[in-house]
């Protein structure tokens, strides 16, 4: 697809430029240009962009366009799960709004409708950006004075929660768990979070991943009674399971074994109707992620890949790979509407999809 530098909705381009609009590069551009955006939002914005760029004239055309654009976009990412939450959402929204309209629409009405859809969607997107701060406020009561918070994976939401708590004059301890696969972006983010917290007088410890159990057992007793784990989720699956940095499942298991609550923070637009039966490579692949952690070697000379690999996606996403944490290990989901139990997720999704 030829790159197209149309990014706005200024004027509707000629009708057949759908094939010219490179949604993938649009998406990648959004991700790399705006650090505060998330894959889901960027996906939604991309779809909105293509909708405005190509201006279909019938309902069917619109729907088809969105579907094909979504497919293209998702196929291009190594981990499309968070994006799929966004694309599903916008498609659902549009389909729903179409359902309320008469089957035949005159051209003018349709255009107006389309404009309306686009406006609303943008409104939505702009307001989702404030979701993070809402989540931080909901999470605040969990971080009591003298509590210890374990954080894993450079999740922006988790970071926002910790910063907010620090700014609210809570005194607590933070333990960042780092993993081997921390890439440079994550390392930078970690560094900055640490700096910010220290500036507020919050003691910070950094421990490598293999030492989690040991660290928990090493907590001085008064501190050990007020501990929680805080992780961010990229996506939340239908049964309440959370997709997050590779290693989150293990972290949550350790928390459970020590009777420590483990909370995942996620905005509600990250909910998706995917439903895994298990939590390994195949399940992720079934959902579109190109990840294969377990790869046996047959000879020493096989120097193709000594380590497991994740097909590189261009910018954004989670380069370190993802895994799925089952709902029984999750004590609660912190969303911008409040604290949700895992069972509640299914209901919300069912409502959306009727």
């Amino acid at each position: 697809m030829a790159p197209n530098d149309q990014t706005g909705l200024a004027t509707p381009p000629p009708k057949d430029s759908s094939s010219n609009f490179d949604i993938v590069s649009h998406y990648n551009r959004l991700i790399s240009s705006d650090p505060s955006t998330t894959p889901a939002i960027a996906a939604i914005e991309s779809l909105i962009a293509i909708l405005s760029a190509t201006s279909p004239s019938t309902i069917t055309e619109t729907i088809t366009l969105l579907q094909s654009a979504s497919t293209t976009l998702l196929a291009s990412q190594s981990n499309p799960i968070p994006l799929s939450a966004g694309t599903e959402l916008i498609q659902r929204y549009i389909i729903t709004s179409f359902k309320q309209q008469p089957a035949q629409l005159s051209g003018h009405d349709f255009t107006q409708l389309r404009r309306q859809l686009i406006t609303n969607s943008k409104l939505f997107v702009s307001q989702t950006k404030s979701a993070r701060s809402k989540i931080a406020k909901h999470a605040l009561p969990f971080i009591r004075d003298d509590s210890t918070v374990f954080a894993y994976g450079s999740s922006r939401v988790a970071d926002a929660i910790l910063s907010h708590a620090a700014e609210s004059n809570r005194y607590f301890y933070v333990i960042f768990i780092t993993s081997d696969s921390t890439d440079s972006n994550e390392a930078t983010a970690l560094h900055q979070s640490t700096k910010r917290l220290l500036a507020h007088g919050i003691p910070v410890a950094t421990i490598p991943f293999p030492t989690i159990s040991h660290a928990i057992a090493s907590l001085p007793k008064p501190q050990a009674s007020n501990v929680l784990f805080l992780l961010g989720a990229e996506a939340v699956l239908e049964n309440g399971a959370a997709v997050s940095n590779l290693g989150s499942h293990l972290v949550a298991s350790v928390a459970k074994a020590n009777s420590i609550p483990c909370y995942f923070a996620a905005e509600s637009y990250k909910f998706t109707r995917q439903f895994p039966t298990s939590f390994g490579d195949r399940d992720l692949q079934r959902m579109g992620a190109k990840q294969q952690v377990l790869r046996f070697r047959s000879s020493m000379d096989d120097d193709k890949e000594i380590e497991w690999s994740v097909e590189e996606s261009k910018g954004g996403g989670n380069d370190g790979g993802v895994d799925i944490t089952p709902p029984e290990l999750i004590s609660g989901l912190i969303t911008e509407s409040g604290i949700m139990t895992c069972e509640g997720v299914a209901e919300e999704l069912i409502k959306l999809w009727f």
């Binding site: 007793k221 008064p222 050990a224 009674s225 020590n258 009777s259």
Partner: protein, 564 residues
């Protein structure tokens, strides 16, 4: 009422042989048909051992404590009680009604005639009679003649006693745990039961001596006395006959209160020792040998063992900052805590968890407080916190407990802990909060017996202990509850006055007596289990004198005996 009887681990035994005068038993010939029935419906006659005397008797295990004047007094009371019992006219045989073992005093209950036991003793009666007459009289013993008023043994039962009123109510769930024989009583003991054994039986039943270590110790000391007083009848060998003789004593004791695991182990050891005696040994030498052996057994398996355990447990307590959870009262645990605080100057906090009906934790807490674990006391750096078992979750949460020490009545072959009822809950909750649970128990308490739940192997305690009475209003336990209530109101045990408070007291009294009539209700049962079994999963380690073990390794340490 005796649910507050201090169940101390004190030893009220004496190494001296001064046995004061004691009521003799009625003529052996009349034992079989004797039907002394002390059931007068409402009369209490268990002498309540004074708290003070047992407090005085709290001693380091193994240290001999002379019989104090209070002990003598206690014995005199026992005599009087026996005499009273003999005075009462026969009401009838209550052979079918069993009395709950180790019943606390205060219940107008049936004293069973051990007719079955009496019959058992028929055959050996003869030579025992001879034996007793041959026996050099105990120094100071005086034979008290039969009271003339005593009914001849063959009087048939004239009246049927009001049975159901105070009938034993066996809980169907645990009917296998109720003793099959008749419970011991002073008056129905046969002649050959040694007075020390009688005393011990009373003390065991009243829970004056409670706790595995104390019971074992007092048992051994008592048996030593019996051995000393023993004379072999002419045509038998000591090694064979002594065992039988001891068995009689022991079965009397076990009818007062079922034997504990450690006691069982000790007895088995002793019997084995006796059976291995050199037959050529002269009687006196044999007796001396046995007594010495018992002494060194006590020294090794009880006294020193608890010392070793205490110091091992000590070493697990850090110098500062620990909060230790304990339950009930275990002599070894107490020893360990005091050692850590006194000898090693460690500073920690003790959370004592307690439960109804025995409230043994109170004794432990008081013991610790008296030793100085309080502000301004000698062990100022240590503190004591007290909680009831219903407040376990809160106690664990609020106090940041770091360790849990539990005492044992026995350690089973599958690694489970057999200990005071409630220990399982304490260990379970400790595990919830990731608190390591450490059991302190001498190897004497290990057994090959196994049980997977708490009801297969247990002891049923006095159900009436569960009928709550306001402690502060209990001054005498000989008065039956209804009268007691009246007495309370009149006497006003509290410093109250005025109509309103009187009314309140009335209400209190009626509230107190809520379960009084529980026996009258056919479907209502009260169950007071003495022990429970804590599964191995809740235990982290066992400290015995031979070392620290994981609970599953109990069978590895040469267990003393299997089933019995």
């Amino acid at each position: 009422m005796s649910e507050n009887a201090p169940s101390t681990n004190g030893v009220s035994a004496s190494s001296s042989d001064a046995t004061p005068s004691f009521a003799t038993m009625p003529d052996p010939a009349s034992i079989a048909e004797q039907t002394p029935d002390t059931n007068s419906g409402a009369r209490q006659e268990r002498p309540q051992p004074k708290q003070a005397s047992t407090a005085e008797n709290i001693a380091e295990a193994g240290a001999g404590v002379k019989l104090t004047g209070a002990q003598l007094k206690q014995r005199k009371q026992a005599e009087k009680a026996a005499r009273r019992a003999e005075k009462v006219t026969v009401k009838g045989e209550q052979a079918q009604i069993q009395q709950v073992q180790s019943s606390s005093s205060g219940r107008p209950d049936v004293k069973q005639r051990r007719s079955s036991q009496g019959e058992q003793l028929q055959t050996p009666q003869s030579h025992h009679k001879r034996k007793l007459s041959n026996q050099p009289p105990e120094p100071g013993a005086v034979r008290i003649p039969f009271r003339p008023g005593q009914q001849p043994p063959s009087t048939p039962q004239t009246q049927q006693p009001p049975q159901p009123k105070h009938a034993e109510k066996r809980v169907p769930l645990v009917s296998h745990l109720y003793p099959s024989g008749k419970p011991a009583s002073l008056t129905t003991a046969s002649r050959e039961i040694h007075p020390s054994v009688l005393t011990l039986a009373l003390q065991l039943r009243n829970l004056t001596i409670a706790g595995s270590t104390a019971r074992t110790l007092s048992l051994l000391l008592t048996l030593k006395r019996v051995i000393k007083a023993y004379t072999t009848p002419p045509s038998t060998a000591l090694s064979r006959h002594l065992t039988t003789h001891l068995s009689h004593q022991i079965s009397f004791l076990s009818s007062a209160r079922p034997l504990g695991i450690a006691q069982g182990n000790a007895i088995r050891w002793l019997k084995k020792l006796i059976s291995q005696l050199d037959p050529d040994l002269d009687d006196n030498d044999a007796k001396k040998f046995l007594c010495d052996a018992v002494d060194s057994f006590i020294q090794e398996k009880v006294t020193l063992a608890s010392e070793v355990i205490a110091s091992q447990a000590c070493s697990r307590i850090e110098a500062e900052g620990e909060t230790i959870l304990v339950f009930g009262k275990s002599s070894v645990v107490e020893k360990a805590l005091l050692k850590a605080a006194k000898d090693e100057g460690k500073k920690f906090r003790v959370v004592v968890v307690d439960s109804r009906p025995l409230f043994e934790g109170r004794n432990l807490a008081k013991g610790l407080l008296r030793a100085g674990m309080r502000e301004g006391g000698d062990l100022d750096g240590c503190q004591v916190v007290y909680s009831l078992i219903s407040g376990l979750a809160d106690a664990l949460e609020q106090n940041c407990v770091t360790k849990c020490f539990l005492g044992a009545s026995g350690m089973l072959g599958n690694g489970s802990l057999y200990s005071r009822c409630g220990s399982a809950m304490v260990a379970m909750m400790a595990k919830q909060y990731n608190v390591p649970v450490i059991v302190l128990g001498e190897s004497l308490k290990f057994t090959a017996k196994m049980a997977v739940d708490s009801l297969s192997l247990n002891e049923v305690g006095d159900a009436d202990a569960l009928v709550e009475r306001d402690e502060s209003q209990t001054f005498t336990s000989d008065v039956p509850p209804k009268q007691e209530d009246a007495g309370k109101k009149g006497g006003g045990g509290k410093k109250k006055g005025g109509d309103e408070e009187q009314k309140e007291e009335d209400e209190d009294a009626s509230k107190n007596g809520l379960l009084e009539s529980w026996r009258d209700h056919p479907n209502l049962y009260l169950l007071n289990l003495m022990y429970d079994i804590t599964p191995k999963d809740y235990l982290d380690m066992v400290i015995c004198e031979l070392g620290t073990l994981p609970p599953g390794a109990v069978p590895v340490i040469g267990v003393h005996g299997g089933d019995e």
